[in-house]
Symmetry: C2
């Protein structure tokens, strides 16, 4: 690794990975990546209940993955961390690569 990472930095990195380690939060982020949303819209689009969505949004906001704007009764959330999409893409690409390796192994009978 280019930079030697201190245990303190690694803890902060781990903490950010932890926030991304819940399917429910990724569902929320995935919706938000298509554009800002109110909480109710997120409830509709994710199928999660309102308390649950609010709780996840709270954590996502505390870790600066999303930000909130208030408009009357509504809380409008949007993605604040431009790296979210990239991180998911990298993970997704690896999943695909592994799937290909696996099917190649099965195919050649290796």
């Amino acid at each position: 690794m280019a930079k030697p990472l201190s245990p303190e930095i690694l803890e902060q990195i781990a903490e950010r990975f932890r926030v991304l380690s819940e399917p429910a939060r990724l569902r929320i982020l995935n919706v938000l990546l298509d554009g800002e949303c109110t909480v109710s819209e997120l409830v509709d689009q994710t199928g999660l209940n309102q308390a649950n969505v609010s709780k996840h949004l709270s954590l996502l906001r505390a870790s600066s993955f999303v930000e909130r704007r208030k408009e009357g009764l509504y809380s409008i959330y949007s993605v604040a961390d431009p790296s979210v999409g990239l991180l998911c893409e990298v993970m997704c690409d690896r999943l695909e690569a592994r799937a290909e390796e696996l099917s190649a192994m099965l195919g050649t009978g290796s």
Copy 2:
């Protein structure tokens, strides 16, 4: 987001983020990114105890982040997933960017 990600894919992505969400595992990966290691070497370099290191290695291997080669009494581990370094770098860059934003805000008194 370019690709619409199904809930199933998001679960797999979340699972991989979860594996990276432990400081102890990041410490191990961070050492392995500098080159393959035996378990004892990892114990020495991370300060974790042997059972703990073995358990984390088990999980890292089950999720294909590392791979193992046996040589006599030794188990030699190495990083198997080329994306690990990139993922940590992205996270680290974001932390730095946020730190800069913060100090800029404090600096201008904005």
